[in-house]
């Protein structure tokens, strides 16, 4: 509904204009001596709040094992189609991961496409992909802006794991095996 804003008539000091300017100058003078509100960026970095969505990374579990099982859910959910996964087998030399079904042979995230929405982190059943704290990403070429698997693990590092899902599966399978015998 339209309504009319009532304009009050100007007071004498407002019509004289100068008292108002002086009042304004008092405010600006206060700001002149107030501390700066800006941050001098490369030297000072902002504190990253919990739950910040920075560059997506792949993480390892506390035992240093790859968590991603190459299910490709993140690839499917990714709205800008920034993720490309080439699924592969578990390498033969990793005996302690032999019970895991698959592992990514190649995992690429194109940071020129990524929109930092965090859907990949949300959808991951293995808690293997996380948007972490890094927010500044630059490169000279397009190719540089595509993070490959090695780079993703380098960025991601190791995060604590509360479940050890595949260890539990393994021990459960072993217990079942014992019961069957």
């Amino acid at each position: 509904m339209p309504y009319v804003v009532e304009r009050k008539p100007l007071t004498l000091s407002e019509r004289l204009y100068f008292p108002q300017i002086l009042a304004g100058m008092r405010v600006t003078l206060k700001h002149l001596f107030a501390p700066n509100v800006t941050m001098e960026y490369p030297e000072q970095r902002p504190a990253i709040p919990v739950g910040y969505r920075g560059v997506p990374t792949l993480v390892k579990d506390p035992h240093g094992r790859e968590k991603c099982v190459s299910c490709q859910l993140c690839e499917f959910v990714c709205p800008p189609k920034a993720i490309r996964i080439t699924p592969g087998e578990i390498p033969a030399d990793q005996a302690d991961r032999a019970h895991v079904e698959k592992a990514p042979k190649e995992f690429e995230i194109d940071m020129l496409r990524c929109i930092y929405c965090g859907l990949c982190q949300e959808v991951c059943p293995e808690e293997a992909i996380f948007l972490q704290n890094q927010y500044s990403l630059t490169g000279y070429t397009r190719a540089e802006m595509v993070n490959d698997k090695a780079r993703l693990y380098e960025l991601g590092g190791t995060l604590p794991d509360r479940h050890f899902k595949w260890d539990k599966k393994k021990s459960a399978a072993e217990a079942r095996g014992h019961a069957a015998h």
Binding site: I21, G24, M25, T28, H31, L32
Partner: protein, 380 residues
Amino acid sequence: MIEFWNSLHPLLQAVIKGLAVIGVMFPFGGACSLIERKISAAMQGRPGPNRAIPFWFAWVPVIGPFLQRLGVFHLMADGGKMFFKEDPVPGHVNKFYFYLAPVVGMIPALTTVTVVPFGAYLNEAGQLVPLVLANLDVGILAVFAVSSLGVYSLILAGWSSNSKYPFLGGIRASAQLISYELSMTLSVLPVFLWVNAPGGEGTLSLFHVVGAQDGAWFGLWMPLCAIIFLVALFAETNRLPFDMAEGEADLVGGFHTEYGAMKWGLFFVAEYSHMLIGSGVFVLLFLGGWNPLPWVPLSDVAAWLHLADQPLLLGLLSIGIFLGKTLFFIFLFMWVRWTVPRFRYDQVMKLGWQKLLPLALGNLIFYAILIAWLQPKFSH
């Protein structure tokens, strides 16, 4: 030293003086732009320019980083950039006037400096001698006459750019300058009515105006004159809240939209020179020039500090006092800039013609009567 100076050929003296004006006003203009950036930053709660530093200067401990934080090297970086960057001239401009405009802007700005006294010292006879490049007896008239030529630069720039926004900017600037010229001139008349007491020798010299302020400053008992002059000064120098001519929001850059590199830089040096000279004239007219305090003239200070027989030191002291006051006004310009938003064009015209001009006229009549009544009492 003074004898040596007097022994030089007048032409050589003139050349040296001319070079001195250029050598002082250009760095001052640059320094003012830096001060402006720093003060603007401080008022907006940010540190301002503080990055540039020549790599060899970064090795100097304490002073190097301090000057870097102060942004001093940005001044040189800006100046160097302005000199060496490409100077674009759009194809559609009227080339002759386009090149002429910044020059026409600079000439009045540099010329008016010569008639503004910036200090004084006592000669052997104990008389105050002004430090001024050209001690004209028409002083203030010369300032007004020459500085208003500056408007031609804006008109020429706006018109020769041959595009819409610069043209509008030039028109606005000229209209504004002409409107406020009147109130400005009227507002200083009471001062000269008082200085030119009947029976005395008539003068318009700024030096004599300062001499008449050994006691009360004119700003103290003619506050309205001072205020009208100051408002008109803001308008004359095209500073906010009167920067109609530039008005980034509505006119891109106003009259200097099509300019770049050093031609653009000249406009800015001219603007800052106008600010400096305007502030200087204001200080001379209303705030006692080089007299440190009301009722405390420079000669008294010289007597206290035993500087009467040392013209060089006294001269430097008087320049310091005068420059200090002038720089406060430069600060005031920037202070007001971040306080008051820009007026609309019609508001500027209304303020100039319907408020300031009648006020200046009434003020003149009031002080004419007051001075006619007061002066006989003082002269006796």
